[in-house]
């Protein structure tokens, strides 16, 4: 049964045709994959279905009835729910408060009853959440469950998930997949947006590919494959060489990159560029987050930090990049004691930092691209002379970066907030790589990137490594860590569970360590058995 029909949906933004006569059918009981490069128009299309944006043209029917969806309230009334890429929860509220928000009139709240109901719905779909917890204390994965629960509690028949797995650990992604399948069995309709092709093939029943705002391909999932999807996403305008490369990437990135990944450029006498000694750091709530970590990263080496989100990775990175105070222990950058540096000293020592939260830390959304790419260098030659800004130089620099890093934007003067998520990330990466750094600290650098862009960033990281740069790479994406790292340190509860060399690191061992088993204990077990 068709639940939603979108016909001829067109949406224009200044300088961009985000959706161009899009037709989309959604059936009850299916998980529908929505694919496309960064900026293809996926989020826009779904925002229209959810009533956040109004289409310029086109028609929507829900269960056969033509409807106009003016606002999320209308969408909810039609049984449509959406979980955004950037969660829309009220952090200081409890789970229950977030879920009942906007429901049941204006009168008194019966908290106990609400909690009971929520627990019931949660049980029905196998979603594990504590209804009394404050959202700001929850991990990203749990927050996502709260969002899903919130839609289901509202009686959503159609649930849109915008890149739900981008922020999840493999385990969390797996449990999400199970939940989605279960919902499909209950005849719900699910729209699943993702850049991870394997996942899409595994989880969905049908897929639609958007390119430059247009639907270019729709198929039953079982009738398609990675290569086809990748080709449809990228389109035919590319040179055959590029296409071959991207297709290869989509098929087996490892193989393509093997030429560079194989051997680390680091030799024993390569300088030790990042060093951390017995580091202790506290989190925003002033609780210990990093508890005695030590490691070194040499020039020409990538050290991966694997771990389930929220085990102190962010605090570790922020302490090294000097945006967070150090409780005790020491940090050395390029041989210098950086423990008492400021963020500015870190930057001045030719060190780059890609934060995992571009919204909060990386970009200023209402600054245009040229301002954003020069945030760290505007007061240096040639962008400033005698304390005055050199606007032509700044704009030239921005144009150049935008072109080199393939940021899809109408020009250097549009606000960063108007870019699609993936292109925002590219902008951050471009900025950080632009100054030929000696040290790179990257926290989830490919978050939200499409396959082409992610591969590009990976390639860049390896190029930098080849230049002799020391790279600290934090990621909850195991594939990424395994693909790029020379060594992998697994973090659990603020401590190191041990360091694995390339080759030693297999997903299973990593999984155990990420769950809190130290490597030494594993080795002991091995010997015993």
């Amino acid at each position: 049964m068709i639940t939603v029909e979108m016909r001829g949906i067109t949406k224009r933004f200044p300088g961009v045709l985000a959706n161009d006569h899009v037709d989309l059918d959604l059936y009850a009981g299916e998980v529908h994959g929505l694919l496309g490069e960064n900026g293809a128009g996926k989020t826009t299309l779904m925002n229209i279905l959810f009533g956040l944006y109004q289409p310029d043209e086109g028609e929507i029917r829900v269960r056969g009835e033509p409807v106009t969806i003016h606002s999320p309230a209308d969408a909810i009334a039609l049984g449509i729910g959406m979980v955004h890429q950037h969660f829309k929860l009220v952090p200081p509220f409890t789970v229950t408060e977030n879920i009942i928000l906007g429901l049941g009139g204006w009168g008194f709240i019966d908290l106990a009853a609400a909690q009971r109901e929520i627990a019931a719905v949660a049980a029905q779909y196998g979603l594990d959440v504590d209804p009394t917890a404050r959202v700001q204390t929850l991990s990203v994965g749990v927050q996502q469950r709260v969002e899903i629960l919130s839609s289901l509690y509202r009686g959503a028949e159609v649930l849109i998930l915008d890149e739900p797995t981008a922020v999840l650990t493999p385990q969390e992604a797996e449990s999400l997949a199970i939940t989605l399948r279960r919902m499909a069995e209950m005849d719900k309709t699910i729209v699943f947006i993702s850049h991870k092709l394997e996942e899409v093939l595994r989880v969905t029943d049908r897929v639609t590919v958007l390119r430059a705002g247009r639907v270019v391909y729709t198929s039953m999932t079982r009738d398609t494959d990675k290569a086809t999807l990748a080709r449809e996403m990228i389109g035919h305008e590319l040179t055959s060489l590029e296409r071959a490369k991207v297709l290869a990437l989509a098929g087996d990135e490892d193989a393509v990159l093997s030429g560079t990944t194989g051997a680390s450029a680091a030799t024993n006498n390569a300088p030790n560029l990042i060093e951390v000694r017995d580091l202790h750091v506290r989190d925003d709530r002033d609780l210990p987050a990093v508890r005695g970590i030590s490691f070194q990263v040499h020039g020409g080496e990538i050290l991966g930090i694997a771990g389930v989100d929220g085990n102190g990775q962010r605090e570790l990175v922020e302490a090294i990049t000097r945006v967070r105070p150090i409780q005790s222990g020491q940090v050395f950058i390029a041989g210098e004691d950086a423990t008492h540096w400021k963020a500015r000293d870190f930057i001045r020592h030719n060190a780059a930092y890609i934060s995992d939260d571009r919204h909060r830390d990386g970009l200023i959304f209402n600054f245009d691209l040229s301002r954003n790419v020069t945030l760290k260098v505007f007061d240096q030659q040639p962008f400033a002379r005698a304390g005055l800004l050199n606007f032509p130089a700044i704009v030239r620099f921005a144009r150049d970066l935008i072109a080199r890093f393939d940021v899809r934007a109408p020009g250097p003067h549009i606000p960063a907030g108007k870019l699609s998520g993936g292109n925002q990330q590219k902008l951050v990466v471009a900025r950080e790589f632009s100054q030929n750094p000696r040290v790179i600290v990257a926290n989830k650098p490919t978050r939200g990137l499409d396959i082409g862009a992610a591969a590009y960033v990976h390639e860049k990281l390896l190029e930098e490594r080849a230049r002799g740069v020391a790279i600290l790479l934090v990621s909850s994406d195991l594939d990424e860590v395994l693909l790029l790292s020379d060594r992998v340190l697994v973090m659990f509860n603020g401590q190191s569970m041990g360091v694995l060399r390339r080759g030693e690191a297999d997903p299973q061992t990593l999984g155990l360590m990420m769950a809190g088993t130290p490597l030494t204990a594993l080795r002991v077990q091995e010997k015993v058995s």
Partner: protein, 359 residues
């Protein structure tokens, strides 16, 4: 946490070089339309209260522009408005909602008058410069109180600066009745006159237009340069996001302090200008309304130096003309306030009200 307030008034954040002329033009057109609307509303009120709107507005226009004398009065009034606007625009772009211009002006007046009265034996020009610097220092220190409380103790500046305004008013009241009172003044609440040679030269004889006006124009130039400078850029980044600013290596508290200090100094100079250009002695109530109107001017000018110059001039004309209207067309004083309030609210809503006309 900071009090962040987005301004819709077209603060250029694009790297299209310093001045977004197109936005500026839109602003001017929209502002003109809202002014017309405000005058229509005011005209209706005039009719209701039994006055002839045409005659009233004629006297408003005459009062602001009718003769050279009237016109210079408009410029005289524009002087402190412009200085205050430029000053607060720096804070506002740093998202520091400093509404303490009133108090900072008072402190500027106090400091500079003190130097004029108590420092002896300097050549006049040097003495005047010293008084000028003292005025800047007075404003700077007063604004730094709020700046320090904000930068290091996260005390909301809207509150601290408005409280500091009251405190400054009473401090001035105390000084002109106590330590700084004119001993020959029959107990009147005022200081002695400053030495005559320190009075600012008039630009046009027999009018009140004086050198302070040029200082205000210089402040506009300074602002134009400031926003092209790295210091200005740092200020803007800190204003846009404290967190990003910290991540890109800026010293956020220091930038906030510098912005409040610069802003306070400019406002202090406005206080200096009022004393040395117009009153020549410390009296009470010298600053009434400038704080508020200066803020209004800053935002109506889109925090843009050129925009603010236009807005300052416009508001000065409105005030000077409004007063004339009150005197000569027998319009109740309260109606002038009402029209002013309407102008502010309508001009603020201009982007919404006249969306279509400019796109």
């Amino acid at each position: 946490m900071s009090t962040t307030t987005a301004d819709t008034a077209g603060t250029g954040t694009a790297e299209r070089a310093p001045l977004p002329w197109r936005t500026l033009w839109d602003n001017v057109v929209q502002a003109a339309l809202s002014l017309v609307l405000a005058l229509v509303v005011g005209g209706a009120l005039l009719l209701v209260s039994g006055r002839d709107p045409i005659a009233a507005y004629r006297s408003l226009y005459y009062g602001a522009f009718g003769t050279t004398d009237r016109f210079t009065e408009t410029l005289v009034k524009a002087t402190p408005l412009l200085l205050v606007a430029v000053s607060v625009s720096i804070c506002f772009r740093a998202q520091v909602w400093n509404i303490g211009a009133e108090g900072q002006m008072i402190l500027g007046a106090i400091f500079s008058t003190w130097v004029a009265l108590h420092v002896k034996g300097l050549p006049p020009l040097l003495h005047l410069v010293l008084a000028f610097l003292a005025g800047a220092l007075g404003g700077l220190l007063w604004s730094l109180i709020a700046g320090v409380l904000k930068a290091y103790l996260q005390a909301n500046e809207v509150i601290t600066t408005s409280m500091l305004n009251y405190i400054a008013v009473y401090l001035l009241a105390y000084l002109v009745r106590g330590p700084m009172m004119d001993p020959q003044g029959f107990n009147f609440p005022q200081s002695p006159l400053i030495p005559e040679e320190l009075e600012l030269p008039r630009l046009i004889a027999r009018t009140r237009l004086n050198v302070a006006f040029l200082v205000a124009l210089a402040a506009v130039l300074l602002a134009l340069v400031f926003w092209r400078s790295t210091w200005g850029r740092r200020t803007e980044i800190v204003g846009a996001s404290r967190r990003v600013a910290a991540h890109v290596g800026l010293n956020v508290p220091r930038t906030i302090l510098l912005a409040t200090a610069l802003s306070g100094a400019l406002t202090g100079i406005a206080g200096w200008g009022e004393i040395f250009g117009l009153h020549f002695r410390l009296i009470e109530e010298i600053t009434r309304g400038f704080g508020t109107l200066g803020i209004v001017v800053a935002l109506l000018g889109g925090l843009n130096p050129i925009g603010m110059t236009i807005a300052a001039f416009f508001f000065a004309a409105l005030v000077v003309g409004g007063n004339a209207m009150e005197r000569n067309a027998n319009v109740p004083f309260a109606l002038v306030d009402v029209i002013q309030g309407c102008v502010i609210l309508l001009v603020l809503s201009r982007a919404y009200l006249f969306k279509r006309s400019s796109s």
